[in-house]
């Protein structure tokens, strides 16, 4: 079964894959900090979508699509146009290179993220494993 990106089902699938990943659990064992991923509208997708991913000590306690009127406060927010997210999830854009060139915009403690490069890579690897239906 394929999951539409962006959607509640898609981000929940990511949360489950992270919980099943030994490599993520070990590389993020000290990590504390939830993310909101914002897919901004572009030519390929007309709406803004907000995906909330909870991350704490190598596991994900939950995930959901959220909306501006009930947005949880998180330590990190990453914004990018829909098509840029697609490149990241397809493995065509390294997220750290994306941040270094301003294609992905991170709000939060950048240095904290840079201390966990392997965990970031594992999240992207898990994204690539999700059967994704692109609108």
């Amino acid at each position: 079964m394929a999951y539409k990106f962006p959607s509640d089902e898609w981000i929940k699938a990511l949360s489950e894959l992270l919980n099943a990943s030994d490599s993520y659990q070990r590389s993020a064992k000290d990590w504390e900090g939830d993310f909101i991923f914002i897919a901004d509208p572009d030519d390929a997708y007309p709406e803004t979508a907000y995906l909330h991913l909870q991350l704490y000590h190598g596991s994900s306690a939950g995930a959901a699509q959220v909306y501006p009127d009930d947005m949880p406060e998180t330590e990190f927010i990453i914004n990018a146009p829909y098509s840029t997210w697609r490149k990241v999830i397809d493995g065509k854009l390294d997220p750290i290179q994306g941040m270094m060139t301003g294609q992905l915009k991170l709000q939060g403690d950048l240095m904290k993220v840079m201390r966990y490069p392997k965990a970031a890579q594992e999240i992207v690897s898990c994204c690539a494993k999700i059967p994704t239906d692109w609108p």
Binding site: S23, S27, Q97, K118, Q121
Partner: protein
């Protein structure tokens, strides 16, 4: 989209003399006491003084420079108010000079905040010149800053494209007196930059040629430069040529990997350096044959094969990693470097006591994510064990 960053590079014989053409009024020279003692700092000061410039020498940089040294240098800069900062030495003084420069310009920052994602707004008070006195680090042309967090025994990879030097003076005479061990270690560091800059997943069309040519030059000239370092007559033309080729190759490799990335040998070498205080070039050069063998058993084969062709290594595709690694080991042996941690003299118990930390810290090193084949935790632990024993990678 990507960027290629480079200082203006003045290179070759007498490059140092171009210092007198630079308009400067107050120069802070960041260096180490060894370079003061052997007279290299004096040579540079002579050139600066010809420009009628006031100079302050900050010579408190030590190998594996610490945050404390940067803090002292920042204070010296704030007191002296230079319009130029000059990083003179190997990687440690040059990286320290970059950090001092950033903190002098941006007193609101702490070193840990120097990262690639922010706008620094440098060059309001001063600019930076780098002058390498070893042929290896490439720190003269890269924007990376490696400092040691001595509280946690960990290297900190910092830097921002803006903090690349304005001018790099690459004068081979300054490195021509390097002793044998330093010649070998720094040469293998440059080779690791060239190889990893080419095979890493962030390689680019612009950096590939720099890395390939540097690798070829280092294979050709490092053994001669090493011979020169042991010779009673190091001024022979072939020795001087080898020294110059190595000096240029180190800078080329620095431009190559500095605008791409390094890879697994650097991730492993950084932690070996911070935990066991193994010199950087020796540590990364020691790991490189093993990480090449590991990459060649995964997706890294085609670029390793390209690199091997440039070096005249002929072998079937399934043997290319092994043949290339064998050539790397031959070069390391030719310049008297160890091929395993055991041979380097590291006690087995000390190694085993730190193995978990080595693996965990290597996984938190930014260079690991650009490996052509990224190991799992179990694989990385095994690679470290093979590096200890000197056992070629077979998985």
């Amino acid at each position: 989209m990507w960027h290629f960053v480079s200082p203006r590079i003045v290179f070759g014989e007498s490059a140092l003399s171009s210092l007198e053409e630079i308009s400067m009024s107050r120069a802070l020279v960041v260096t180490d006491q060894n370079l003061v003692q052997i007279g290299l700092v004096e040579q540079v000061l002579d050139q600066i003084k010809k420009a009628g410039c006031e100079v302050l020498v900050f010579d408190e940089v030590e190998p594996d420079p610490t945050l404390a040294a940067v803090e002292l240098g920042k204070k010296a800069a704030n007191d002296f108010q230079p319009d130029w900062i000059i990083g003179l030495g190997g990687g440690s003084p040059m990286d320290t000079s970059k950090a001092i420069w950033v903190l002098y310009e941006r007193p609101d920052l702490i070193p840990a905040e120097i990262n690639p994602f922010i706008h620094l707004g440098l060059r309001e008070k001063s600019r930076l010149i780098t002058i390498p006195t070893t042929s290896g680090t490439g720190a003269d042309v890269t924007w990376a800053i490696v400092l040691t967090d001595s509280e946690n025994n960990r290297k900190m990879g910092l830097g921002n494209r803006e903090n690349a030097a304005d001018i790099a003076l690459v004068d081979p005479a300054l490195a021509s007196g390097m002793p044998p061990r330093l010649t070998a270690d720094t040469g293998l560091d440059a080779l690791t930059h060239a190889v990893e800059g080419f095979i890493c997943t962030w390689h680019t069309d612009i950096t590939d040629g720099l890395c390939l040519n540097a690798a070829r030059e280092i294979f050709n000239y490092l053994p001669i430069a090493y011979e020169a370092s042991q010779s009673d007559n190091p001024r022979q033309e072939r020795y001087q040529q080898a020294r110059e080729k190595m000096h240029n190759a180190a800078t080329s490799a620095g431009l190559g990997f500095g605008n791409a990335m390094a890879s697994l040998a650097h991730a492993m070498g950084h932690v070996l350096g911070s935990v066991f205080h193994i010199p950087h070039g020796r540590a990364v050069g020691l790991c490189l044959p093993y990480t090449i063998e590991f990459a060649a058993r995964g997706d890294g084969t085609s670029r390793i094969a390209t690199l091997a062709r440039i070096l005249d290594i002929r072998a079937p595709k399934n043997e290319i990693g092994e043949k290339f690694s064998s050539k790397l080991r031959d070069l390391a042996s030719a310049v008297g470097n160890p091929l395993s941690l055991e041979e380097l003299g590291l006690e087995k118990k000390d190694f085993e006591d730190q193995l978990d930390k080595l693996v965990d810290d290597a996984f938190n090193d930014t260079q690991i994510i650009t490996s052509p084949r990224c190991p799992s935790f179990e694989e990385l632990e095994k690679i470290f064990q093979y590096v200890y024993q000197g056992h070629p990678i077979d998985f």
